[in-house]
Amino acid sequence: MPRKLTFQGKAVLLTVLIIAVWWVAPVAIKKFTRISFFEFQAPSWVGLSYLKDVQDYWVNRSHSKSELIQAGIEMAELNAAYELRNQQAAFQESEVQRLEALLDMPSLPEHRYEVARVIRRDLNAWWQQIIVRKGTRHGVAQGQAVVFSGGVVGKVKEAHLYTAVVELLTSPGFRVAAHFEGDLRPIQFTGGYNPLFSTPHGVASNVPSDVHIPLREERRIVSSRLGGVFPDGLSLGRIKSLNLEPDGLFQNGKVAIDPRLLSLREVAILIPLGEDELAWEEPGR
């Protein structure tokens, strides 16, 4: 009996001791430990993701020539459509610049897209985050916006040397300024509802009481540049109905989020362009 008490008592004492030592350790040591452990493991995750790329490459190599020809035809059609859209975008861009100069308005912030591979997804009830294969070496910094073809992904929470942690918009506590498509009045989007075996949803709140969504229709809500993180007009989700909030002044509603967000393989990080980069891209400006 005394032996049992000694063994378990020793274990409890050691546990209390190690927690106490860690608790009183300076913040610098804690931060250093965290970064060291992360950076030590990062190469293994990056290596694993490169292995997956090789696997994908060999899977693609197994496609027949007729499949590749078909894919080439589809790509050519897409390229043609995008070329047309590029021409329209260039014209609209010059129109925006002309109006900015005419009205003496400050120009909108511009970004470059840094495409990054997703190497790990950690999506549970408490937090929703992914780790991507681009870091501070590629210009990634904390707080930058992350997007994909379906709209907003989230924002960079931590930037490490070769990797970055991205907090998804489905994460509890994720809040961002938004507005309805075609209606610039700001509303608030909050993530965090991730049901089991189902697609996640968020909540739109502070919706003005005169906004109405007809039955069996839905409206898209998009990001607003008011928050300072995301550019205007990136899709956040779709909303089908609104309920009046208890104060009677505003409404709220459930926002359906793109289910592709849960199985992303590639994202783009919006890196703000510096003055020198802007000058390089647009010498005449």
């Binding site: 049992k4 274990a11 452990f37 907090e167």
Partner: protein, 172 residues
């Protein structure tokens, strides 16, 4: 082979297991479900290792796995050490050669950990049915997998250590 090398091998095996489980969670993310299998790393330390090596191993694994979580590192450290104390307390009350005993201890501790973490990290959502539905769904699946794998993973580690010339079954 000295004790440090044996511990290093055990640590590396658990690191590989963590990689496999993280890949499994990445693949499952599209289905709206996630697995929490911390007890797989801790149950062997609690049931087979001595107090100091067990605690060092548990704390080390807590640091390794905790850096990926968006919470302070000490939270994971405390969680891992409490789970280790739980399995250490169970060590004298169960037969570690018995599949059901090991499975029961691991699954129960895992369930307690998930509920504790839900209160700690889901403070804003504790009133939400969606949140608890997800938590209990994840917990049920995680407990099932922990219960199935805990004993097998422990025995695998025992066999590896025996091949390295050390019998952990001889530990009291």
């Amino acid at each position: 082979m000295n004790r440090l090398v044996r511990m290093g091998v055990l640590f590396f095996m658990n690191f590989l297991l963590a990689g496999v489980l993280a890949e499994a969670n990445s693949s499952l993310s599209g289905f709206g479900v996630s697995l929490h299998l911390e007890m797989l790393f801790i149950v062997f330390c609690g049931l087979y290792l001595d107090a100091i090596p067990g605690m060092v191993m548990t704390a080390g694994l807590g640091f390794f796995l905790g850096v990926f979580r968006p919470v302070p590192l000490e939270d994971t450290l405390i969680e891992f050490l409490l789970l280790w104390l739980f399995s250490l307390a169970a060590r004298r009350r169960i037969r570690r050669e018995n599949f059901a005993h090991v499975a029961g201890v691991a699954a129960l501790a895992q369930c307690l950990a998930i509920i504790g973490m839900s209160f700690a990290y889901g403070a804003d959502l504790v009133g939400s049915g969606v949140f608890w539905g997800r938590v209990f769904g994840d917990a049920a699946l995680s407990m099932l997998i922990v219960a199935v794998l805990a004993y097998l993973w422990c025995q695998f580690q025992v066999r590896i250590l025996m091949d390295m010339g050390w019998n952990p079954d001889a530990q009291h």
